[in-house]
């Protein structure tokens, strides 16, 4: 009973794959909308805001699940540097999933724009309207989104390395089956 499972709990797996889809969609939506003057810009923006808030809500649920359930351990023969890289990249992933929606919300607030999730649903501004603050937040939102994308690529590469090269059960722990 006390032996840790080889698999993440079904709820943790559901959250992982749902958020994987949402975060990757979000990164593409964000990169696409700021690089377009077409109507794509507008409808992607209308997706970006509610999706961002949904990710913020889910990452909070996920952190609760993460700290209230046991995680499958990493393979004991994993080199120390890979253990450290795994821990650091997960810290970065969680941190950025939490920070990026907050930054997006803050930058709209700082621009003095109404924070609209739809034509009627409005969130309060949580930083004062300030142009210089907007510029800092907006740039941070962009650069950190690129950092998140690179971290996601690294995570993907590492997962496939575990699954296809090391074949050590790490990828299966999130797939939920051997």
């Amino acid at each position: 009973m006390n032996a840790p499972s080889r698999f993440f709990t079904p709820l943790a797996r559901l959250l992982h794959w749902l958020m994987a889809l949402m975060v990757i969609a979000m990164l593409f939506i964000g990169a696409g909308m700021v690089a377009s003057v077409s109507q794509r810009h507008e409808w992607l923006l209308h997706l970006h805001k509610p999706l961002g808030i949904a990710i913020l809500a889910l990452v909070i649920v996920r952190l609760v699940v993460r700290f209230s359930t046991r995680q499958p351990p990493l393979p004991s023969d994993l080199p120390l540097w890979q253990v450290l890289a795994a821990k650091a990249s997960h810290l970065l992933l969680y941190g950025l999933m939490l920070v990026l929606p907050l930054l997006g919300w803050a930058m709209i607030s700082a621009a003095g724009d109404p924070v609209m999730l739809s034509s009627t649903v409005q969130l309060p501004a949580w930083v004062p309207a300030n142009a210089q603050l907007f510029a800092v937040l907006r740039k941070a939102h962009g650069y950190l989104a690129y950092l998140l994308f690179l971290t996601v690529l690294l995570h993907l590469a590492a997962a496939l390395f575990h699954g296809w090269v090391r074949r050590d059960g790490v990828l299966q722990s999130m797939l939920g089956k051997d």
Binding site: F28, V34, H41, Q122, K139
Partner: protein, 360 residues
């Protein structure tokens, strides 16, 4: 820790290892490549917000902290008093509350903040209506009735036609006529320009929203419209532009000392045949026009310190009850304004130097 690595796992052969590593590279590379396409890196021909803003900077020079277009202007403030006419057409609170506070900005349509007021026959008025429910309506209007072109691509070509020649430092005089010759959609705009003169006052101008929008009422019915404001003051624009480069702001400040200046907000309902999504086309013939209320402006502030400075007058910031049409210029304006706004808000600290520089 329990080692759950599979005991039956056999070492990979060299070829198999390389193949698997290559497969990982392909997967990661495909995702990265798709991303590089979406963000425009692998699609350099795409018209991007920064392409438009760069073109404005090429034509006008870079003036840190200033808007990249309509750079010279003045902040104003006041309120909108709604009348009953638009209430059946739009559920937006601005048409239902007696009074909605407004922050606005008069400007010249040029990217040069030092352009003489008489250098262009066009003036613009941007407004932000702040509804009590927190939603906002922002609109950027111009004194011309139509836009020269109907698409951002054509607008970009027009900016390129006005770009300074690297040798002479001035636009090639043949470029703009050549542009208009290949863009017959600009005919209504050109016909208007022929009769237009630089006005002596911001207060005597009409300002047109130009792009089409939809009013949505409480039953969800949609009505295509264009809107604009028409001055109520009897003092119409008989006066020719006076000498000097900066008469518009002084004129406005003097008028405001004597009392508020007023406009009627007129909303033109589209007829079935009207081109809603093409800002270069006139809506000809008889139209129903709603007098939605009165815009009252009662104070002004210099633009470098005024409340309008940090507002991005994005025409797609709309309250519930007003929706954008499919006019491609609206999305392009929204996208390009965001790019300009990011550039200039990052340069606010340089505005102080700019003020010093502009003073002889």
């Amino acid at each position: 820790m329990v080692d759950h690595s599979s005991p039956s796992r056999r070492p990979l052969g060299r070829a198999s290892l390389l193949l698997r590593l290559a497969a990982i590279g392909v997967v990661v590379g495909a995702v990265a490549g798709a991303f590089a396409y979406v963000n425009g890196t692998l699609d350099p021909q795409r018209l991007r917000p920064k392409t438009l803003v760069n073109a404005l900077e090429t034509n006008n020079g870079v003036h840190p902290g200033y808007r990249r277009n309509h750079s010279k202007g003045v902040c104003v403030a006041g309120y909108f008093e709604s009348g009953p006419a638009a209430r059946a057409y739009s559920s937006a609170q601005v048409f239902h509350e007696a009074r909605t506070p407004v922050i606005g900005r008069f400007a010249l349509p040029s990217g040069n903040p030092y352009a003489p007021d008489s250098s262009v026959p066009i003036r613009s008025l941007a407004l932000q209506f702040s509804q009590a429910n927190g939603q906002q309506w922002r609109t950027g209007m111009n004194s011309m009735p139509v836009f020269p072109v109907g698409t951002p691509e054509a607008f970009y070509q027009m900016l390129k036609a006005g770009a300074p020649d690297p040798v002479t430092g001035k636009p090639n005089p043949a470029s703009m006529p050549a542009f208009f010759a290949s863009h017959p959609e600009a005919a209504p705009f050109l016909a208007w320009v022929k009769t237009a003169k630089p006005s002596a006052s911001y207060a005597t101008e009409s300002y047109n929203g130009i792009n089409g929008f939809y009013l949505i009422n409480a039953n969800g019915q949609r009505q295509a419209v264009r809107w604009g404001v028409v001055p109520i003051s009897q003092d119409t624009k008989e006066a020719a532009a006076p000498a000097g480069a900066d008469f518009l702001q002084q004129d406005l400040e003097q008028r405001l000392l004597a009392g508020p200046v007023r406009w009627q907000l007129l909303i033109t309902l589209a007829n079935p045949a009207d081109p809603v999504d093409d800002a270069s086309k006139v809506w000809a013939g008889e139209h129903t026009v709603l007098n939605a209320g009165t815009l009252v402006l009662d104070s002004s502030q210099p633009q470098l310190s005024g409340d309008c400075r940090d507002i991005n007058f994005d025409p797609l910031i709309l309250p519930s009850g007003i929706e954008a049409s499919n006019d491609p210029l609206l999305a392009a304006r929204s996208a390009a304004y965001a790019s300009s706004y990011l550039r200039r808000t990052g340069e606010v600290s340089q505005l102080h130097n700019a003020v010093q520089e502009s003073k002889p």
